[in-house]
Amino acid sequence: MIAILLLLPADTPDEFFEKKIRPALVANCLSCHDTQKQRGGLRLDSRAAMLKGGDTGPALVPGDVAKSRIITAIGYKEIGFQMPPRGKLSDAVIADLTKWVAEGAHWPAGDKTTAAQGNKFDLADRKAAHWSWQPLRDPVIPAPKDDWARSASDRLLLADLDKSKLSPAPDTDRSTLLRRLSFDLIGLPPVSEEVEAFIADRRPDAVERVVDRLLANPRFGERWARHWLDLVRYAETRGHEFDFSIPNAYRYRDYVIRALNDDVPYDRFVIEHLAGDLVSSPRTLGGSNESILGTGFWFLGEEVHSPVDIRADQADRFDNRIDVMSKTFLGLTISCARCHDHKFDAISSRDYYSLYSFLTSSSYRQVRYDGWETNRAVAARLDTLRAEHARRMPAFEYTPPVDTAQGEVIVDYANLKPGQWLPDDVSFGIRPVKAGELRLGRVVERTAAEFDPFWSPLNYAPGSEQEPGGLGANRSGRTIRTPGFKVAPGRVYALVRGAGRLYAGVGSHIMLAGPLHGRLVQGFGASKTYRWVAIDLSLYVGQPAHLELTANSDDFAVARVIQSTTVPPAPTEAKLPILDDKTFVEWRAAEQGLAKEAVFSSRLAPAMQDGTGIDEAVFVRGSHRNLGTPTPRRFLEALAGDRPLVTPGSGRMELAKQMVDPSITPLTSRVMVNRVWHHLFGRGIAASVDDLGVMGTPPTHPELLDHLATRFAKEGWSVKRLVRELVLSRAYAMSSDPTADDKTDPDNRLFHRANVRRLSAEAVRDALLSLSGELRPTMFGSPTPIYLTEFQEGRGRPGSGPLNGDGRRSIYLGVRRNFLSSFLLAFDAPAPFSAVGRRTVSNVPAQSLILMNDPFVQQQSALWAKRGGDVRRLYLAAFGRLPTADEMSVCEAFLKEGTPEELAHSLVNVKEFIFVR
């Protein structure tokens, strides 16, 4: 074979190229890498383009096969970097291409030599071209031409109707208005007595009185919290294969309800979501930290129980978090910039990975949030108290041991840098202990983070749920995390004392349910002296990580954490002075006295914990195996400029402050007022409430939107005030009946009348409970399991709850990702996976089948019938109005043969029951 080859006349370089190389490129590469398409930012149709390369660097280094990415790719050795994607080239073609590169990559002269153009993404142009990036502009309010308008928003709306020669519809009747107000504000129908009283109330401020009563009703928070939960894809389990719980997720749900009822200013609410763990003075409620609960929203998404590639899995989870965060607060689809610069909006891939870096720099915990300030004060006083007592103790001599271990320091508690003190609670004290310091009955042998036995009694309030996966239980309040680091070859070693558990947060993977990543958690038993414990992270070299160390015994301490390729020498033991226990009597009594003030029991809630700042790089084409430009943490360039936030921690607080500053971010208030408008008028001023970008729907009334947004931000971000103003407007009170103007404005884009709206899934169910009298006013707490039909099957199936859901409002029903309520789903409750600010309103036979045949519906209507009452009262309860004479006679005729139960069941099947006019 070789002999034959040698006998053939050699091709000239031109011939070799034209015979072998060009055909191979044309056949296998150019369909994705030429003038038409540049996958990976790469062109392979000229030598210059190859030299320039693509997202991962030069494709070609003439003469250097090892450095030429094109050869690596066709070699098919690296998973995720194999070309062509459809299948490996034949050995002969690979040999030709390799030979070509090795021999200098000759390209015939005269061929086109232009390198690939840069892409056309221009952030400044994009920003300038689209309305939603522009600063808020409070418009001049047009003068009223008649007395129709009651508010500035009415005058703006009317001006646009005038321009189109449309007139506002007449006011709706009072009973319809009351029903509309009641469902919109509290999500429940008005009860018969309320209807009658309101119809009879002829005072000029009758509507205002109703509105103020509804706004003060705690049901308001329940109704509006449900809107919010749709945005943050609220669920109580992690879905995926076994649908594991998100422990204590409902604490977040309750937080949202309270925040809305208390009318927490919206800017504050946003800050608490982004960085509630970092606010300097948290809102407290009975001593509990309310603000920190907001950060729970980050962790309401899916978690995969045993992914093989945890960095890729992290990329998916963080993508979901960025998606939810950016749609919810900013009305932007930042996630679209995961694999490339946004196709339409002023959002770059660098923006995306800058935000990603905030998440890498933070981690998950179940926080103890009760007794928050008390315990922090106690911990500080404890430190002072000890210093005072120590001063009075007899002197002693002590030389601490010298630690000679070599390696990259992850944390050294004797040499702590700003932002590196990261316990998850006060139980490690307010600082590391110092070698030679006195503690009750002993001298501290090493400078270290020590679990403080003072906090030994800490416990979890009854009913607190614990972590289901390999992370393990009983971590909260007993855990300290290290700064972040990048995993290097070798092992990670921690110098620890006592019994504990070590978890390596690689890829922020927390489920740890499979064997492959079981190595990320490691326990170690009791030991009275310090020793090194090792964890092998060699599978994850190059990835960002941090460690969390949990005290399983009261004498737990960690002095240093390093990573190294050599095993550290065993630590030397120090000779500790023996102290006379009697001298500690007074000290001990003082500590015991202080302990009476501490709050040892606490509830738990999912929350974020700050780490140290870690900056990621762009994942080229969304792949973590392909790192591009570094991306320091900062907000969107289009809003806040390309200025990295330099902070020892994650920098989430700085990010949050920029988001709620209207001079930097006009979107935050626009998005929120648009959402409120959507819920009250049936369509947003910009209909695509979660996307105010180029692909969204432009606002029908941009001036109105800006007017509301400006005032919202200027006047204290009060959601209740905004709602009040809008529902008291003339526009809100219009009738939804067809008008002559429907021909000109068939989609009612200009709001010339009210929209007919179907009740939300929750409102349908809650209204049934309200009719039957089974609705219980109980608020908050652990969810009531949904009633599971025999048709709802699968792994992780929970127990079924009672048919009537214990009479609890739908917001308190369990939301288990893999076992969602089929009743609520049929009426378009969204499956929780991304921000849904606008639910679909579908019309499917399943809805009719439910209203006809579901045992719950029949049960509730039978109970309703049993409460007694004539046709008049049934109509008042179901439709918030009196029956017409015709309706009265039809119903009475039915009752001659039919039963009251049958009548009641029929009435809930009348469409008016599930619609608001």
Partner: protein, 461 residues
Amino acid sequence: MITRRDMLARCANGFGAVAFHALLAEAAAPSRESTGLHHRATARSVIYLYMDGGPSQVDTFDPKPLLSKYNGEPPNKFFKVEPTQFDSIGRMLGSPWKFAQHGESGLWVSDLFPNIAKRADDLAVVRSVVSKFSEHTSANYFLHTGSGLQGRPSMGSWLSYGLGKLNANLPSFVVLNGGLIPPGGLDNFNAGFLPAAHQGSVFKTGANPVANIKRLERSEDTQRKKLDLVRKLDRLSADRSGRSDAIESAIINHETAFRMQSAVPELMDIAGETTATQKLYGLDAAYPHTRTFGRQCLIARRLVERGVRFIELTCPGTGHDRWDQHSNLKKGHEDNSLAVDQPIAALLMDLKTRGLLDSTLVVWSGEFGRTPFAQGGNGRDHNPFGFSIWMAGGGVRGGMVYGETDEWGYKAVKDKVEIHDLHATMLHCLGIDHKRLTMRFGGRDMRLTDVHGEVLTKILR
């Protein structure tokens, strides 16, 4: 001429998006004849035989004699072993089953499927499918929705959304639940951001396969009277406030629901099928799981006859955690194949006899394959790098093999096929261009195939 009420009725019943756009085009240019499709369809329905857990390619349709030759040797002697989910890399494991060539085409099928082997000339086996995920749930979501994340629309939902209904009284996407709901749960069959009308309806075997299909009233007459009352009151209510499209659609819907109450039990009642047919499907088989799956396959054919667009079958629980044989490969795969082999062969034959195979695309696949080396001693771990599926009917060429894995059956090396390609091909057979079937969501025109997908033209007629 389409009346307003027709339009409302069609919308209420999930009238197909593709056809809807065609209809609008038709209204604009009435002379143009339109089928309502992007191109001529070769299939009207899909039956998706979902082999939950991941059958082993090297034990079914992709023979690799080298595995037996090097049985017991460490695999990393021959190739680089990628991380596996259970991280327990065993020795090279030759297939415990014999392979033989079948039919005129000489297609290779192992002893696991003696009956399916007889239909070899109907099958197009694709041996080079790859997935992006090594764990069940992500891989299930990926296979069903084109995304590894929860909450995206299932392929059946996309079809329903694109094509709409042929039968107003049945859902257009039905899942026949054999007993095992795949990891990831019912979300594998959800409509995601598509309207709820397109969600998969999961049918159990039995006379009342879905919730709320059975009236609770003692007699039909009682229910009828209630509905008459509802109809009158709805009309009076409309008289009072004027017409609303939303409310009118809901009224039409209510009537459909009433009819479904009889259509569904009629579908499930197989008493009218001949004894021969019932035997063919294995309804008299000794193995109970063959009977379960046989019934599912028979119902699947009845659904096809009734114009249902997408029918997915999940596996019966044979006590082995699906096809997921991390250990006891032999017993597990044998029990699973015993359950599905005869019914699947019967389905292919029955469809063909009735002239339905040409318009029905049958797909057989797991979410990934299995490793050619052992997990522990006698199992195989998950392998997304190269596995086999097959398709039959509905415009697919029979008796052919497409794509190749390496000599170990570990990784696809020739004509690699992505899940997106499978989706693109399915849509193509039904007359839909996968690039044009879109839904605007979250700022993007979303597709089943995302930004990927190429039609596998070489396996099509």
